[in-house]
């Protein structure tokens, strides 16, 4: 690990998400809005519709400000942030795709200049030339999507690149085309939605109604294109493969994000249809703002979904979220992780935590792991570290050796509540205590009725058999030995036996 680890109190996930969603939202709008502007300008010029032209000029000012200040700089900000949060991933991407970025930069230069001249040129340039610059803007902006799309989709589905290491294999990867169609649709959708919002404030009634309706249709067209893109996405082979399916099933987030995405899309579609196309009368600024909010929600959940199913990787099948390369870490391996860390803090446990867990977890706060380890002990935690990669949540294997597992286990144990569970929850006993013990010491790897279910195994066991299983650790190298006290053990056994009683409730801890 050649880079230092930034120990910020902000969660890496939320920080990244906040900047990325903002940028993605604005930059898609920047493309679709550009197209909307020129096409609408052409129509308005043909009909010599002066109020409409005045509206477009206003829109283009808002547009230039938003895309140049917010769009361009949030793009730069993403780059700065991923360098801080995921320096190894950034290095891999830059080294692999530098000419891709460089090509995108040439489009970026044209795009920025065209946006400025389009805005400043309304009065200065002849209509034909003005529109020509508008088209140049749109072409350059869309072409930068064509390039960036290759790199963004690469992270999710690197495809044949994993074997060949060839630029074009990584670029035109399995999700390239679906994503391009989807994102192009989103661009048009956002362009239309923004135009509906701004048009809702036009004072002249007739212009307002016709502009709102036109922009609404425009948005719906974009929606249709993105639905086609999404359908193409769902048909991509790789995504229906085991590794993705499993992640989607094991985590709550992908399902939740999909639901949000569908709801937001439905609301936006219905909203555009009703408040813009059918009843443009009711389209006023607050309504438009609501539509934009739905769009933001849809966009945010799509990006969340994309990030979530990529777990535990930054580059799928290649590099984990904590910067470890898949082919360089071996679960239960002998190699030292500490020796590979170039920037040390002087505290080994802290270094190990940083480079193994902290890009996804804080002890407390963002995706905290303290609650998962409260009520356990150093022996359990070190043991569980050997099996992080088989837990319900998709996680990379611990990249250090056995000694380092012990160091990190002890380090975490010092920072959580290691009292026995019956001391933490005085008065709780019997099956209820057993449930807590199971939840703390087993459920991460064995959900009841879900991932890694062990109910069948214990089916014909007596209390002594279970005690034996807990005492000798023969199940798996990746499973920690039971290290709770006797009270906890007995409660756990009682709880396990309760599964097979006549009126046992269906339950799932966590």
């Amino acid at each position: 690990m050649p880079y230092p680890f930034w120990e910020t109190d902000l969660g890496y996930g939320p920080l990244m998400a906040a900047i990325a969603v903002l940028h993605v939202f604005v930059s898609h709008f920047a493309i679709g809005g550009g197209l909307y502007l020129v096409v609408a300008e052409r129509g308005a010029r043909r009909r010599a519709d002066l109020p409409r032209l005045a509206f477009l000029e206003r829109l283009s000012r808002f547009f230039a400000l938003l895309t140049l200040v917010l769009g361009a700089l949030t793009g730069v900000a993403i780059w700065f942030v991923i360098g801080l949060l995921s320096p190894d991933g950034t290095e891999a991407l830059i080294r692999t795709f530098v000419w891709g970025w460089a090509i995108e930069w040439t489009f970026f230069v044209v795009e920025v200049l065209a946006a400025l001249l389009y805005y400043y040129g309304w009065r200065r340039l002849s209509p034909g030339r003005h529109m020509a610059i508008g088209w140049v803007y749109f072409a350059a902006a869309w072409l930068s999507l064509v390039v960036i799309n290759g790199i963004v989709t690469f992270m999710l589905t690197p495809g044949a690149w994993l074997e060949t290491g060839a630029f074009w294999d990584g670029f035109f990867n399995p999700t390239y085309w679906p994503s391009l169609v989807l994102r192009t649709g989103i661009c048009i959708l956002l362009g239309g939605t923004f135009a509906v919002y701004v048009a809702g404030g036009i004072p002249e009634r007739d212009t307002r109604l016709s502009t709102v309706r036109g922009a609404g249709l425009w948005g719906l067209t974009g929606l249709l294109v993105s639905v086609v893109g999404f359908w193409m996405y769902l048909r991509v082979d790789v995504l229906s493969q085991e590794s993705f399916r499993e992640v989607a099933d094991r985590l709550v987030l992908p399902g939740l994000a999909t639901e949000y995405m569908l709801v937001a899309t439905a609301l936006l579609g219905a909203g555009l249809l009703i408040t813009a196309v059918l009843l443009p009368r009711i389209q006023r600024r607050p309504v438009g703002l609501l539509l934009l909010l739905f769009a933001l929600m849809g966009m945010g959940s799509f990006e969340t979904y994309r990030e979530a199913v990529r777990k535990p990787y930054v580059i799928h099948g290649y590099m984990y979220g904590n910067g470890q390369r898949k082919d360089r870490v071996e679960a239960g391996g002998e190699e030292s992780l500490l020796e590979r860390i170039a920037y040390r803090t002087g505290d080994d446990g802290r270094d190990l935590f940083n480079y193994s867990c902290r890009s996804c977890h804080q002890l407390e706060g963002y995706r905290a792991i303290k609650p998962f380890f409260d009520g356990t002990d150093a022996a359990y935690i070190s043991g569980a570290l050997a099996g992080v990669h088989v837990m319900r949540a998709p996680m990379p294997p611990f990249a250090g050796n056995a000694e380092e597992r012990a160091v990190l286990g002890a380090w975490i144990a010092e920072r959580v509540d290691t009292r026995p569970l019956h001391e933490i929850h005085p008065g709780v006993e019997g099956i209820e205590l057993g449930r807590l013990v199971y939840s703390a010491r087993c459920a991460s790897c064995h959900a009841i009725g879900g991932y890694g279910d062990v109910r069948e195994t214990f089916e014909d066991f007596e209390a002594e058999d279970i005690a034996e299983v807990l005492a000798d650790n023969e199940m798996s190298e990746e499973m920690p030995r039971f290290s709770g006290d006797e009270t906890e053990r007995d409660a756990l056994i009682e709880y396990i036996l309760s599964w097979y009683e006549e009126d046992a409730p269906e339950e799932a801890p966590r």
């Binding site: 880079y3 230092p4 680890f5 930034w6 120990e7 910020t8 109190d9 400000l65 140049l68 200040v69 917010l70 361009a72 700089l73 949030t74 730069v76 900000a77 780059w79 700065f80 360098g83 801080l84 320096p87 290095e91 891999a92 830059i94 080294r95 692999t96 530098v98 000419w99 460089a102 090509i103 040439t106 970026f108 230069v109 044209v110 920025v112 200049l113 065209a114 400025l116 001249l117 400043y120 009065r123 200065r124 340039l125 002849s126 030339r129 610059i133 140049v136 350059a140 994993l162 060949t164 630029f167 290649y318 390369r325 898949k326 082919d327 071996e330 679960a331 170039a342 920037y343 002087g346």
Partner: protein, 343 residues
């Protein structure tokens, strides 16, 4: 179980010289745009033109600032990309050690940008314009100081490790002030040179503005020269190897070209003077580049990196760049040839 070997990303995708040329070229363009913006702002505040911000030349500059900012940002992306490609290991580690300050760069740039727009568009009088401009200036000062701090830290990997051990929270500002202050002041001098130049060009038909521009151009040149000399002597042990490197030639060339620009400028040979100044800038940027390599000796040796050229992609980039330049030239021509009333 070790999975099958996956592709590596150690190799540079083009020979080092090519990457260096691209880096130095684009960085010089970035500095030129930044000089017009930042130096222009400084000159504007220092100039005290008759009528202040109501002076036509001042007004013109204020409306130009947002576009200059756009140019600065856009032209800054490419050199950072090429620097990251080769020097990412030291650059990003320095950025992480100063994480919060680094993160502040795009945020402050965004605010400065927004303030420049506000100054250009506000209808609330000169007081407001001045306020917005001052805020933008503060943002730019922050960005420039942070870059000096982080990039000087990037050249000192050992120091990075020490500071990181002391504080891993990203709140480290390069504490060795002597390592970056002269460097920053020198940049400031250079910026003022370009800003004064640009100001004088804008105001070439206005006596007062022209003189102010010339004045700040000269002050900037003098300041850059002095601080540059001091900076050179703070190189200490590096001075000797620098004197034997290609850097001394580019530096000499840079100084001579910059000095030639002065009489040309005073004689209002603006194109020639600008060209000379630009060449001077190129020389200095290359010298700066050489110093970085010298300082990193023993830590990071770009010349030792493996190279696996992707010529096809480079050709595609070159074609795109040419098309982009053609598009830029065409659009600018359309725009500036058009008469203001609409053709």
């Amino acid at each position: 179980m070790i999975v099958l070997a996956l592709p590596d990303y150690d190799a540079l995708p083009a020979p080092l010289w090519l990457l260096t040329v691209l880096h130095v070229l684009t960085l010089s363009l970035h500095f030129a745009a930044m000089g017009c913006l930042f130096g222009g702002l400084l000159t504007l505040f220092g100039a005290r033109l008759p009528g202040g911000l109501e002076h036509p030349c001042a007004k013109r500059l204020v409306t130009l600032f947002p576009s200059l900012m756009a140019a600065t940002v856009t032209l800054g992306v490419a050199p950072l990309l090429f620097a990251q490609l080769v020097y990412g290991r030291v650059l990003y580690s320095a950025a992480i050690v100063s994480g919060w300050f680094w993160l502040g760069i795009p945020i402050m740039a965004m605010l400065a940008y927004a303030c420049l727009y506000a100054a250009a568009f506000t209808k609330q009088g000169v007081g407001r314009v001045r306020l917005w401009l001052l805020l933008a200036l503060a943002g730019l000062v922050y960005v420039s100081l942070t870059y000096s701090s982080v990039f000087s830290l990037a050249e000192r990997p050992d120091a990075q490790k020490t500071y990181y051990e002391g504080d891993a929270s990203g709140l480290v500002w390069h504490p060795d002030v002597t390592a970056w202050i002269m460097r920053w002041l020198h940049m400031l001098g250079g910026t003022l040179t370009i800003g004064g130049f640009f100001f004088g060009v804008l105001g070439r038909r206005d006596e007062a503005a022209r003189h102010k521009g010339q004045f700040f151009f000269l002050v900037g040149t003098g300041a850059a020269f002095l601080t540059g000399m001091v900076y050179l002597f703070t190189l200490g042990d590096l001075l000797k190897p620098f004197m034997k490197s290609a850097g001394i030639y580019s530096l000499t060339f840079g100084i001579v070209a910059a000095l030639i620009a002065v009489p040309l400028y005073l004689k209002q040979r603006l194109w020639l003077s600008g060209l000379s100044l630009g060449l001077g800038l190129l020389g200095m940027v290359h010298a700066r580049h050489v110093v970085r390599d010298l300082r990193l000796e023993g830590h990071l040796d770009p010349a030792a990196m493996t190279v696996d050229p992707q010529w096809g992609l480079f050709a595609l980039f070159a074609v795109c760049l040419l098309v982009a330049l053609a598009a830029v030239a065409w659009m600018l021509r359309l725009f500036f040839r058009a008469d203001a009333a609409g053709a």
